[in-house]
Subunit: 213 residues, 2 copies
């Protein structure tokens, strides 16, 4: 198995956690999105029509989009299960994952921050306010979801799920951008717990072969 | 069953299509996001911690986030199935749905366009360019996915799936914003086909009880 990945991409990070939890061996194929390698003609035409990272190659099957990849892995390699089968828990996990992956991450990723800088010519202060605004809105929602259903140590119970796979890279990203996350203690507690777990550790940006300090 | 919905919300539209395809009766509970009803204290605390539409109420279970709701409906009311079980088809459907719901829609929804106007004070021309930029990037990806796997009349075969539920509201939104979608003929063909289907028709904004002309 191979994974087209960028060390600092939150969506790649999600899939790396899933692969590590399932103990699936894979080769990292670095795609440097800072220099536009995700838009290279061959990559877009033959690997990932989304023109993004990550993309999984499993035998001849090539699949983009982190949420689709994790579902695919969960179907094919069900142990440990990352998207629970019990209906209410499953719904809560998918709801949480959608909050992170649809309501927070898309607004603060590299291509959007670059558009703000180059096309809208925002000031560094405006860019920072943009980033913090969507973190604050989204993380407040995440925290409310955890207040409703979180018993720890993971987002939804005793086992890590897709929810944790989405939360941890998002929190790491926000901390890197110096956001104050103290209003979200349950989210931070999950993040702290995860940071000591070997699969989550193995997936961290600084452990990747394409890491740039 | 009840659905908190706004007529013009693409994410509500997705769920309305799913409910109509499954022929599930429901009551519409309008939430006017233009005046901030989705941020009302009671709604956020007791219905939808995401502070958004849609939210489904099924007996005592309350669930937000359109993708989570459609998965929940598919588990509980599996006919017709909207997220296929066959692994490769399932992966393609989820990949396509993620492209629309993570890479396009979050950048062009009401709260983001309002932020551009009020906080960044962009010109109408800049706002229009922003909208068109993300439509062009995302729809090019959608079209590439359909070129790889589309045999018609729906995105991925003879039956509508979650992919169509994501594509149709996005295309309707882009057409309303006067985007040129002629570079995406396969997407447009699916949209045209869907517009004649009773379940997709019933879910259209102008058919909703809270429609404002």
């Amino acid at each position: 198995m191979q994974l087209h990945s960028f060390f600092n991409s939150s969506t790649s990070y999600r899939v790396r956690i899933a692969l590590a939890l399932k103990e699936l061996a894979y080769e990292t194929l670095p795609v440097n999105i800072r220099v536009g390698e995700h838009r290279a003609e061959d990559y877009v035409a033959n690997v990932n029509p989304s023109a993004s990272v990550p993309a999984l190659i499993d035998d001849d099957f090539r699949l983009g989009q982190s949420l689709a990849i994790i579902d695919y892995l969960d179907q094919k390699y069900p142990e440990p299960r990352l998207i629970p089968l019990e209906p209410a828990l499953r719904a809560r996990v998918l709801e949480f994952a959608a909050l992170i992956s649809c309501d927070i991450h898309p607004l603060n990723n590299l291509r959007v921050l670059r558009y703000l800088e180059t096309e809208l010519e925002v000031t560094p202060q405006q860019k920072s306010s943009w980033y913090r605004h969507w973190i604050a809105q989204g993380m407040a929602g995440a925290e409310r979801m955890l207040e409703r259903g979180n018993t720890g140590p993971w987002c939804f119970g005793a086992q890590p799920t897709l929810a944790d796979m989405c939360l941890v890279p998002q929190v790491a990203n926000a901390l890197r951008m110096d956001c104050d996350l103290s209003p979200y203690p349950r989210s931070l507690a999950v993040f702290e717990h995860a940071s000591k777990h070997p699969a989550f550790e193995a997936a961290q940006p600084q452990r990747q072969p394409d890491y740039i300090a």
